[in-house]
């Protein structure tokens, strides 16, 4: 028995020793030398595309075909991976070293996390990073981690206030609300005069941010490493939401399938206003009240709080898997897919917002009315904290928001709970 214990202890100690001397402190990186002749590069690139397979997929497939025509020696496997599964799927594959794609379309919030875990190839000095000064600063920031570029922005987006013009007119309002107070008034007028609900809230952390930003709050202050979700400004933003729900200005929000329920209500004309992003353009315009009357569909910046109008920056970046066997071909593919011409084509066909300044001026992009109409809402886009833990910030917030929306907590208590959860997630940050 005694010998058994000592053997087990020795084995454990050995395992510890082995695991402790795994390597040096900082991730080692060596930039791949750029090939002299791009046309000579050959190989096979697997691309995980997380876009909407039915509405958006075909356009990306066309671009892929253009790429293969230009570089006949490179074959691209276009794989559509549902957005909701992609993060976990990629991490599992990337970590095990088998089954990971060469190129991934990653949400802007994932890049820092993946980069910190060593899954992504740095793109500085490679063909993938082409004319970086042309990128809009906020989306470009999402691809950077520790002063290196790991993702190049594909599309950008933000939240705007989408509204049903006819319903607002029936309620006596020609213009969409510009502030939170106006939002409440207009919503109540719609409810009393137009026979529909005024505002549908989507009980989701991301959709809570405009209220927090509007009152001058934020989840974190990255420069001073402070958790600011319980600051008086942030709490003021939560109070706006609490008041919208309690006063009945916002319809009683659904907790499960909140996004779909709000969207459906908006498309059916049961609610006059929702917060949503450009990715929902196609979906909305197919709705009952907009299908035959697209002019009825209004897009405005999110209403402002006492400090500013602010909505989170979203979007997607192209990233390259560090363990890819075809790095050179992958870099070329990313370069092609993210050129101003490709972006303009995506913008023109899908109404997704380019991340290159030059793409906005191209005729193809200007041909899509949505691009111009989202220009103003985009001015309110606020950069999010691009930190590895960013992906974990939403769960405590959404749990708190769900409690707030069902009347199970108050704004102050909710903010305290979320701040406490953040303290557990972010080591070394102060309140």
């Amino acid at each position: 028995m005694r010998r058994g214990i000592s053997v087990a202890a020795a084995a454990a100690a050995l395992a510890l020793a082995v695991s402790a001397c795994g390597g040096e402190d900082t991730p080692q990186q060596s930039a791949a030398p750029a090939p002299s002749d791009p046309a000579a590069v050959s190989g096979e690139v697997t691309w995980w595309d997380t876009s909407d397979a039915t509405n958006e997929g075909p356009v990306f497939k066309e671009l892929k075909a253009d790429f293969e025509a230009k570089y006949p020696k490179i074959k691209v496997n276009h794989v559509n991976v549902p957005f909701a599964d992609a993060q976990n799927k990629f991490k599992t594959a990337a970590q095990s070293g088998s089954g990971a794609p060469d190129v991934l379309r990653a949400d802007v919030g994932w890049v820092a996390e993946f980069a910190s875990l060593g899954y992504l190839a740095p793109l500085d000095g490679t063909p993938a990073l082409d004319q970086p000064e042309d990128f809009l600063p906020s989306p470009a920031g999402s691809g950077r981690y520790n002063d290196k570029t790991y993702g190049v922005p594909q599309v950008t987006d933000t939240l705007g206030l989408l509204y049903n013009k006819e319903l607002l007119k029936k309620a006596g309002h020609d213009a969409p609300p510009k502030t939170f107070e106006e939002l409440k008034t207009v919503a109540q007028d719609v409810k009393s005069k137009a026979g529909a609900d005024g505002l549908a809230l989507n009980v989701d952390a991301y959709f809570l941010l405009p209220f927090i930003y509007g009152e001058g709050g934020d989840l974190l202050d990255v420069t001073t490493k402070k958790i600011t979700v319980a600051s008086p400004q942030s709490v003021a933003g939560l109070k706006v939401v609490e008041d919208l729900i309690k006063s009945g200005a916002a319809a009683k929000p659904a907790i499960q399938d909140s996004y779909t329920n709000a969207e459906t209500a908006f498309k059916e004309g049961k609610v006059a206003m929702i917060f949503n992003g450009p990715w929902s353009n196609t979906d909305n315009l197919g709705g009952k009240v907009f299908k035959d009357n697209p002019d009825n569909f209004g897009i405005a910046p999110v209403p402002a709080g006492s400090v500013k109008a602010g909505a989170p920056t979203g979007g997607h970046d192209y990233t390259v898997y560090a363990g890819s066997k075809n790095l050179d071909a992958s870099y070329l593919f990313v370069r092609f897919m993210d050129s101003a011409e490709s972006q303009a084509k995506i913008a023109g066909k899908l109404g997704l917002l380019p991340t290159r300044k030059s793409a906005y001026d191209m005729p193809e992009a200007q041909g899509n009315a949505m691009i111009g109409r989202w220009k103003e809402p985009m001015t309110a886009a606020v950069e999010r904290p691009w930190i590895p833990e960013a992906g974990q910030l939403f769960q405590p917030l959404v749990e708190g928001y769900q409690k707030l929306a069902t009347g199970g907590t108050t704004s102050d208590a909710m903010a305290q709970d979320v701040a406490k959860a953040y303290q557990g997630l972010l080591k070394g940050w102060s309140l």
């Binding site: 795994g22 390597g23 060596s30 875990l117 363990g323 769900q402 199970g408």
Partner: protein, 331 residues
């Protein structure tokens, strides 16, 4: 087949070798040499079990004693090398879980959920089994219909229920409204969300109980009922003193199985309410899953949760067995 033979001879050789050793010529050595052939035949199963169950279990227990996360476990991917920097931290993962307020409230709800679900599974399953055990027109049709929920994959049912129970657009609320009642927040109110997940799980789990108990009922000799009837026993007395004791061997097994399954019933909670609203319907396994797969994966924390759940179930099973044995059950 080939591998089995190879494994068998290898294990047999070691068994014999040890038996011949001068020191181990005790009872164990004699046992091994006498039964080497049996050991050889078992070896493939033992090895597969060790690889598939033993190794992950040991690894899980080890990880739960460290601070390993996705960020500090060493690996090399292409040009990036992440060093291993995780350390042995003893029981601190466990103390952190047990002392957190979250644990007790999750545990309380998990136990409530398990007890209510298994009680309803057993009660409804037994009722249906009794109904179906008597001659009845279209009996096989009823049996087939009642087994249906079990035949549908759990995740499909969970999604269908989620849709049916949707507050605004769901079928259940539409029927309630059509009947003149107000709709209920089936999934959006903490209390009703709990009722909903229990209802869905009961719907899913009753068929198994029913089938198992039906089998048990058919194994009870008819003569006992006839004799009781001759002695003038009422239907209740027959049920109480023949059916229930006769079902004992089946009941004790299915209740134990049902408890373990329900305690770890992941898909129903995760797919119907996602643990919401506000985490109110989250049970221990779904919570452990969140720990493991949200953001930077926390291997040590989730392993500790896993071990803790395992320990709870083992304790439960042991107590249950003791209780049965005290009542004279040879199980």
């Amino acid at each position: 087949m080939t591998t089995q033979v190879v494994d068998g001879t290898a294990a047999g050789a070691t068994a014999r070798g040890r038996a011949r050793g001068p020191r181990s010529r005790g009872r164990a050595g004699g046992f091994l040499s006498r039964h080497w052939y049996a050991w050889a035949m078992c070896a493939p199963v033992v090895i597969v079990t060790l690889v598939l169950i033993g190794y992950p279990l040991v690894r899980g227990v080890y990880l739960s004693l460290t601070d390993a996360t996705e960020a500090n476990m060493g690996r090399t991917i292409g040009m990036n090398t992440i060093p291993s920097t995780y350390e042995f931290v003893g029981l601190s993962n466990y103390t952190a879980i047990v002392t957190s307020g979250e644990f007790l409230s999750r545990l309380a709800w998990t136990i409530t959920w398990t007890v209510v679900c298994v009680a309803l599974h057993y009660g409804i399953g037994l009722g249906l089994a009794l109904l179906l055990n008597r001659p009845l027109r279209l009996r096989s049709l009823y049996r087939m219909l009642l087994v249906l929920p079990w035949a549908v994959p759990a995740f499909v049912s969970a999604f269908i229920w989620r849709y049916l129970l949707n507050g605004e657009f769901g079928v259940v609320n539409a029927m309630l409204r059509a009947a003149g009642f107000g709709g209920l927040d089936w999934l959006d109110d903490p209390f009703w969300a709990k009722v909903s997940v229990i209802a869905v799980n009961v719907w899913l789990g009753v068929p198994f109980m029913m089938l198992a108990l039906l089998g048990g009922l058919q194994a009870i000799p008819r003569e006992l009922y006839e004799a009781a009837e001759v002695d003038g026993a009422t239907p209740w007395q027959r049920f109480r003193h023949i059916t229930l004791p006769g079902l004992r061997p089946v009941s004790s097994t299915v209740v134990l199985l049902g408890t373990i399954w329900t305690f770890n019933q992941f898909p129903v909670i995760y797919l119907v309410t996602r643990g919401g609203p506000g985490g109110s319907s989250e049970i221990l396994v779904t919570y452990a899953y969140r720990q493991a797969f949200e953001g930077i994966r926390n291997y040590s924390g989730s392993a500790a949760w896993g071990v803790l759940i395992l320990v709870l179930l083992v304790v439960m099973a042991v107590v249950y067995r003791r209780a049965l044995r005290r009542q004279g059950e040879a199980w």
